[in-house]
Symmetry: C2
Subunit: 94 residues, 2 copies
């Protein structure tokens, strides 16, 4: 069963920020705001994602927050404006 | 019982963005990243907060996302780097 994770980040360095965004895309994350991604991901791949992100993370300058939303919390999401919720993938859980 | 809500926004207009940030602060929100706030708030005040935010929101240009995390989801938050989780207020629930 895939987890639903919201990942938000503040990363001043352009190169690191791009690497983090690319890594999130690599793991099937969907960009819903400039520095917020949403992702359906297995527990195993969530660990692999974090290991990959650690390579591009500077604890002195950067901030990344991971929020896991359970099946009760997901329907309570409230989305205004431009972005839309990502669909739970039928097939493509990586 | 207070709810825990994560609010993230993308608002290109400076004036609107400042108003949204100020409104979130007015309702006891804590800024944990440039455009991410966390907030312990009652259901009633969550409604009032949304009514206030609506005044400063342009659905054509802006995006605001509200994620409510239940008591099971909160401990699963994973925070890297600069910001720290906000403490559940003992007294000051407005």
């Amino acid at each position: 069963m895939a987890m639903f994770v919201v990942i938000s980040y503040d990363i001043p360095d352009n190169r690191r920020r791009l690497k983090v965004a690319q890594t999130l895309l690599d793991f099937g994350g969907e960009r819903v705001q400039r520095s917020v991604f949403e992702c359906y991901i297995t527990e195993r791949n969530y660990e692999r994602l974090q290991a990959r992100l650690r390579r591009h993370f500077d604890g002195e300058a950067d901030s990344i927050r991971f929020y896991i939303l359970c099946e009760n919390c997901r329907p309570r999401m409230n989305l205004w404006g431009l972005a839309h919720p990502i669909e739970e993938p039928r097939l493509r859980i990586i």
